[in-house]
Symmetry: C2
Subunit: 327 residues, 2 copies
């Protein structure tokens, strides 16, 4: 295991300390590092809280700030945050307008956020993300997994909450964005969870895992590594097939790196995916390319497509000021 690390036990704490210090203008670390919150809270709006296992950085702490999340609860690497983390985050940032939890569909996250919602003394609702079209059941989840599309839900609902949208409407909007979003990932290498010390899975020199999960869960099939265009075609096909077959119109195309794939390859994949979408009567109206929802140092990427209308486009474009997304 070749990593910049002092010890498995302190890795997350040290990284969070670094994150909070580097972005002290935007965020504050809560007591015992249970959550990352906005430095300047706004008690009059719906508070958006997300979280999940660490190892996916910048998701979620990198999306805390104006126009996106109010707080994020980092669990240990690939491990759910505990209910008390979520309850304390909600108490710290929630006001009369209530709290909306944005939760990726994994059994542990669901359970712990549900427990937190029961304990939390205030109005609360939940949006569950499940944008991964790869498989219907996976190692840590029943139903589809929540993956990179979660960023899109957090950005768009974050803008709406900032504009004063109420809790019910934010919840419905989150469900709508999730429903309009599809993702698929592919891995060229495994990642190594520090506590395990060895790669989560192994791939041959000419193999890739099509439909991989963001914790290295198995995908649809292990197949031969092919050209970037052929990889993109498999991915775009899977996504487009999953939309209603009359789907067309404006989309957001988000090519996400898993941590070990450099920008030169991500832009090449974006180029391939964009052309494939445009051949199928989609218009790429908005774009995001970068490593935003990672799996430690896994080499690979995911493609996410969100169907946009004028309302969602305006919310996507709206001001955001976080460590990882800013415009």
């Amino acid at each position: 295991m070749k990593k910049f690390i002092n010890s498995v036990d302190t890795m997350l704490a040290e990284s969070l300390d670094g994150f909070a210090a580097a972005h002290a203008d935007i965020v504050l670390l809560g007591p015992e590092r249970k959550f990352v919150r906005r430095r300047t809270p706004n008690a009059n709006k719906v508070a958006l809280i997300s979280g999940g296992g660490s190892g996916h950085e910048p998701l979620h702490a990198g999306f805390v700030g104006i126009g996106m999340l109010d707080a994020a609860c980092p669990g240990q690497i690939f491990t759910s945050p505990t209910p008390d983390q979520v309850v304390e985050a909600a108490a710290a940032v929630g006001g009369k307008a209530g709290v909306l939890f944005i939760v990726k569909n994994y059994a542990g996250d669901r359970m712990n956020f549900e427990m937190a919602a029961e304990i939390f003394d205030g109005p609360a609702a939940t949006v569950m993300t499940n944008d991964d079209v790869a498989v219907e059941k996976s190692t840590y989840s029943s139903g589809r997994r929540g993956v990179a599309g979660t960023l899109v839900v957090e950005k768009i609902v974050g803008a709406a909450a900032e504009q004063g949208m109420d809790l019910n409407a934010c919840t419905a909007l989150g469900a709508e964005v999730n429903e309009k979003t599809r993702s698929l990932g592919v891995a060229l290498t495994s990642c190594t969870v520090p506590a395990a010390g060895t790669p989560t899975f192994t791939l041959g020199a000419d193999e890739m895992e099509m439909g991989v999960g963001i914790h290295g869960e198995p995908g649809r099939e292990r197949v031969s590594l092919v050209s970037a265009d052929a990889v993109a075609e498999q991915m775009v096909n899977a996504i487009v097939t999953d939309f209603d077959h009359h789907a067309s119109g404006n989309v957001l195309l988000f090519v996400n790196g898993f941590g070990g794939t450099p920008a030169i390859e991500l832009y090449l994949m974006y180029n391939a995916a964009r052309r494939l979408l445009e051949k199928r009567s989609f218009a790429v109206a908005r774009s995001l390319v970068g490593s935003y929802v990672t799996s430690l140092e896994m080499a690979g990427c995911s493609i996410s497509v969100t169907q946009l209308d004028a309302k969602l486009t305006a919310l996507w474009d709206d001001h955001v000021h976080t460590a990882a997304l800013r415009w």
Copy 2:
């Protein structure tokens, strides 16, 4: 070689097409992809042009936009751009205020930018960056190499040029920022240049290359992989030793990923480096953490430190709107 690629010959072109399409609101690709330029030129200011071998993305094309570069010339991977690329970029974005070339100190880049400056029919000057304290002579360079500190030069001089600073003053400012900046890199793995197809160098499972260059050039020594704190200490020591030994005061701390190292490790290294600098009477007044000056998919990072005064801090903070840096 596990990469998202169609062919070695088209990789750069496809990636540039993707970059230009994803960021069409900010940049335009010049004829024959010879350069990337701002979509909205400003002929009244000094035009900043950089470039170099590709494989270091987002450097330099990702820094084209308001408050930073006017154009960037991408060579093939780890290969200088040709003089005609630079001349055509200068002709496209240069006005009466002249053109400033920002060039990393490598023999090929120096030669080709010098030839371009001779051919270009207009006022031109050059800032050479050589912030890497690792070695005084390297595979592709005499004198110190220009590495991640180049970003800092481009950002600060970019802000000054945007404010109307003239060519002589911009040139002096670039030299000043370079002089106040020191960097050192470390590699945990090699990268693989697509045209070569095999790793540039090999490291044992418990080895790292301390002082590595951004093309995988040898550093100071190949040593055992130690704890992150110990790695950071070696790096910060080398940087601080190279400054005047009375150096103190405000600095920018920039922890840069080489492409294969995820954010969780970069923030951990930032945390370690920050504490070490603060023990030595530096105050970390500004921070940047992320993979901005990469070496394809190399795992590793560099630490850069820039001494800041009020003037440089204000220029660093000034508005920037590029694909990779935006505030």
